[in-house]
Amino acid sequence: MNFFNQIITVATKDIKTELRTRETLSGMLVFALLVVLIFNFAFDLRVHNVRSVVPGALWVTFTFAGVLGLNRSFASERDQGSLEGLLLAPVDRSALYLGKTSANIVFMLITEVIVLPVSTVLFNLNLLHPQLFVVALLGTIGFAGVGTLFSAIAINTRARDVMLPILLFPISIPIIIAAVKLTSAILDTGAVTEAGTWWPLLISFDAIFLVVSALIFEYAVEY
């Protein structure tokens, strides 16, 4: 079976299971919507220029909701004993990693696609720019890419729910900063040209994190 078919097989299995159980997606969505709601109340009370804080608020929402989903990514495999079944299969470990990452990206994007229109209403700010979806996609790819790797590492620890964000957030700071800067530029000026070096930075970090994570993933799942 070729490499890309292996990735698709793993990703579609995760997506099929999630659509059946909706365990991960429901948790991510509820959490994200609650965070946006709380930010909305906080900004209404204190901040006059909502436009200056919404980019940060959005990416706090996306990343924390993303951590919920990433935690479940390998935890569910480990808990039901199927992770070893995957590791016993004659599948390249990088294909396994890319399949899991692809599914995690889909789950985060579904959450973001729902949160953005809701945030548009709550913050009274148009967040439905096409460029904003591109930033969301690129930021999600990088965050989910490195998050999937750390999720595999964290499941072997006792405090795995806490360990994942501790490991993930420091490493993903460049992605988060680039995504926030790009979001801010788009909301302020509506133009991608104001984003300077942030586009190449975000794309470069995505590429580096995905490649490096794919290469070292087999050591993360080794017993």
Binding site: M1, N5, Q6, T9, V10, K13, K16, T17, R20, T21, Q80, G81, S82, E84, G85, L86, L87, L88, A89, P90, V91, D92, E222, Y223
Partner: protein, 255 residues
């Protein structure tokens, strides 16, 4: 099967594995010819499951060499994984998928040819036709074990590792295990079984061995061998400190 001159299915030399400073497998040697079958018995904590995990590549040895069908473990993991099917107390099944979905998923990962046909054959053979659309989490332990066996055989592996396949089964299901394993067409495959159940080991394997103190301390052909013979050998080779916990019995319970 004439295996003279053939590469052994499993060849282990000087295998060692420790956990937390305690050696579980200690300089273990094992040769299993192609088409051969071996049952390994041992007390709890003797290293049976660890040995299966090392052979399958799920765990990495601290020292020693493992060759599976002539391929060195660790150098070509994909070739080794392709050659081995495992049945364990862990079924490796996805609880929120149906039996057919589980088989199709693993079949795609293993690159099984004519997958749909192969899945249908195994579903019929292992009596799973009535559970096609039932989620695995709704199946009984015995039915899940049948599905686990079907999953292990899906890629037609040359070697089948059975790690306490009777674990978690009720006595009736344990009694049916030899018939169930007969459906697996293990003849011609190389089989290694770990178990507490002497009766099962004597029925299923050509040879039986005792794993104690991290090594295979006794090995004998099963023809003409009785449970009492194995129990006597077990008591002889078991460390004195463990003898108060008794030896394996026909039922699999420690006496």
């Amino acid at each position: 099967m004439n295996t003279r001159g053939a590469v052994p299915a499993i060849h282990v030399r000087g295998l060692t594995k420790s956990f937390g400073g305690r050696a579980v497998i200690r300089n273990l040697d094992l040769v299993l010819p192609q088409g051969g079958s071996l049952a390994i018995v041992g007390h709890n904590g003797s290293g049976k499951t660890t040995l299966i995990r090392l052979l399958s590549g799920l765990a990495r040895a601290d020292a020693g060499l493992i060759h599976v069908c002539g391929v060195r473990q660790g150098l070509n993991a994909i070739a080794v994984h392709r050659a081995i099917g495992i049945v364990s107390h862990n079924t490796f099944l996805y609880q929120d998928l149906t039996p057919v979905e589980n088989l199709q998923f693993y079949g795609r990962l293993y690159g099984v040819d004519r997958l749909h046909q192969r899945v249908e054959t195994l579903v019929e053979r292992f009596g799973l036709a009535g559970y096609r659309s039932t989620l695995v989490r709704m199946l009984s332990r015995g039915t899940q074990q049948r599905l686990s066996l079907a999953r292990a055989l899906l890629p037609d592996p040359r070697i089948v590792l059975l790690d306490e396949p009777d674990s978690g089964l009720d006595p009736q299901a344990v009694d049916m295990l030899p018939q169930l394993l007969a459906l697996a067409e293990l003849e011609g495959r190389t089989t290694l079984l770990t178990t507490h159940n002497l009766k099962l080991g004597l029925v299923l394997a050509q040879r039986i061995a005792i794993l104690a103190q991290g090594r295979l301390v006794w090995e004998q052909g099963t023809p003409g061998l009785s449970e009492a013979d194995v129990r006597a050998a077990y008591d002889l080779h078991l460390p004195k400190s463990n003898r108060i916990w008794g030896s394996p019995s026909a039922s699999g319970a420690t006496a």
